[in-house]
């Protein structure tokens, strides 16, 4: 597999160019669609999956926005390569067949062009998604919607006059829209206010997850906030509502950071410099420790307590210190016992390159 086929490796969102990008890493939009008349994933035979992939590929080829898409056939790829795509947030764990002994199913594929991708034969036949830098719901939705309209003209989607777009799981029916932002909330965690904020989210129809979306744990104080319901509101209403709440959470986070600076300036400064020092000098780093240290440094940079590194470098470190990326870089397996050593060396190299 050649990820260099993808401009920016499919990760332009890392470049920290978007609004509020020290606190909000990225904005993601996903639309769930199914091809009319073909059984959903749960019931689909291999021939159904292949038929879905053929229809989607043909439609993409003659579409406006996906005609130059790069196609990855997951069932023909080795595990480390599939894990790379997953670590770049381009495919789900399920589609990539990364759960324990699982294998990707026939017809499991990813099409990517620019910042928009389509997962084919995931829980739904099509999962259209786009990831944008910073807090940018409008641009992300606009781009994904354009691809949706494009494909919907060429492939008949399952749609019901009352229930809207029909999905394998009724929790996604209606708009099929899940909008989410990946947000860094160390201030709220350190001031112990995070609990209240998270509990408040569920009362306003939002939910939170970890770094990799559904079922993933919270690491490095990164939270994914997204809409919980998909039916009974328009796409714009769902997006506006999420946007409004995220702006509020960003504000709470900024207030919490002010409180930290006012009440414990030395401790905060010490914490961020220690995190920076460990990243710069440690000889072995686990992935989880790296995430937590990066969180501390990111906070320090956001509060102007540290002179660097830049947010783009911090974002790159989040992605490239993951097991499959490190293993690929160094020609090792993802289970290699020396990976923590390789990780620490990689982090040092990147930080030194930035400060020189």
């Amino acid at each position: 597999m050649d990820l260099s086929l993808l401009p920016d490796g499919g990760m332009r969102w890392l470049d920290a160019s978007g609004p509020k990008s020290t606190i909000v890493l990225s904005t993601r939009i996903r639309l769930a669609r199914n091809v009319r008349g073909i059984p959903f994933s749960q019931k689909a035979k291999d021939s159904d999956r292949t038929a879905v992939l053929e229809r989607v590929s043909e439609a993409a080829a003659s579409s406006e926005h996906l005609s130059a898409a790069v196609a990855f056939h997951l069932d023909e790829m080795e595990r480390p390569e599939r894990q790379l795509l997953h670590e770049r947030h381009l495919v789900s764990k399920e589609l990539a067949g990364l759960e324990r002994e699982a294998r990707p199913r026939p017809g499991a594929a990813l099409l990517v062009q620019d910042q928009v991708g389509v997962m084919v034969n995931e829980e739904d036949h099509l999962r259209l998604h786009g990831m944008w830098s910073g807090f940018d719901l409008e641009d992300a939705y606009g781009a994904v919607e354009a691809v949706d309209a494009d494909l919907g003209r060429l492939v008949p989607f399952a749609f019901h006059h009352e229930f809207g777009y029909l999905t394998s799981c009724p929790t996604n029916a209606g708009t099929g829209l899940r909008a989410s932002v990946l947000i860094h909330l160390p201030g709220l965690v350190l001031t112990k206010e995070i609990n209240k904020v998270l509990q408040g989210l569920s009362q306003v129809g939002l939910t939170f997850r970890g770094l990799y979306g559904e079922g993933s744990e919270v690491v490095g104080n990164f939270f994914q906030l997204s809409n919980q319901t998909t039916l009974g509101k328009t796409e714009d209403e769902l997006i506006d509502h999420l946007g409004k709440i995220v702006r509020q959470v960003v504000e709470y986070e900024e207030q919490a950071r002010d409180v930290l600076l006012r009440t414990a300036p030395e401790e905060v400064e010490d914490k961020t410099w220690r995190a920076y020092g460990l990243l710069k000098h440690a000889r072995r780093l686990s992935f989880e420790e790296t995430m937590n240290l990066l969180s501390g440094v990111r906070l320090g940079v956001g509060l102007n307590l540290l002179p660097g590194p830049g947010v783009y470098t911090l974002n790159k470190l989040l992605i490239y210190t993951q097991p499959a990326h490190l293993a690929a870089l160094d020609g090792r397996s993802t289970g290699d016992r020396e990976l923590p050593t390789v990780r620490a060396a990689f982090v040092r190299r990147l930080l030194e390159a930035e400060s020189s």
Partner: protein, 168 residues
């Protein structure tokens, strides 16, 4: 203020409980609060609350919200029963929404607060008054051709191939 329980560490949590109709407020440190089952910031982060919330709306839970009374119902299009949905939380095909519509309407209302889609309206290619998009007709014919070849219906395949040539 010191923790009311251990009297050693600083109290950071005020736990208010109602006992025998009177309100009791305890000032606790993080450790003692956790021992009493109060979820503190750190504990929430470690406990997979995200997973729990996810499981309520995804996973098998939506199926479990449907009463067992309709278990015998089957979707004629894909053969899935309502029982299958209750077990797996996933529907078999788009027609299931028609086959189980009253059960699903109730479920959708409970999950989303409404069963009426008000978002973007969609018209599949070939529907409505607008003339067919030739590209979609072409894709449709190609799909038919594939099925004809698979089913060894070569007469139909030849006809479809000619129609595709004209369009191309």
């Amino acid at each position: 203020m010191l923790c009311d329980n251990c009297k050693e560490r600083d109290a950071i949590i005020n736990l208010t409980q109602v006992e025998h109709d009177s309100k009791v407020t305890l000032h606790l440190c993080e450790q003692c609060a956790q021992q009493k089952g109060v979820e503190t910031g750190g504990a929430v982060l470690k406990s997979p609350l995200g997973n729990f919330l996810g499981a309520v709306v995804k996973g098998t839970a939506p199926g479990a919200l449907v009463p067992a009374s309709g278990d015998g119902l089957r979707c004629p299009a894909c053969g899935s029963s309502l029982r299958d949905f209750r077990d797996s939380g996933r529907l078999g095909c788009d027609q299931c929404y028609v086959s189980f519509d009253s059960h699903l309407r109730d479920l959708l209302r409970r999950l989303h607060g409404s069963s009426q889609h008000v978002g973007e309206r969609y018209e599949a290619p070939g529907e409505g008054a607008a003339p067919d998009d030739p590209r979609s007709r072409l894709l449709d014919l190609k799909a038919q051709l594939r099925r004809a070849v698979e089913g060894e219906n070569f007469e139909l395949a030849a006809e479809l191939r000619d129609r595709i040539r004209v369009l191309e």
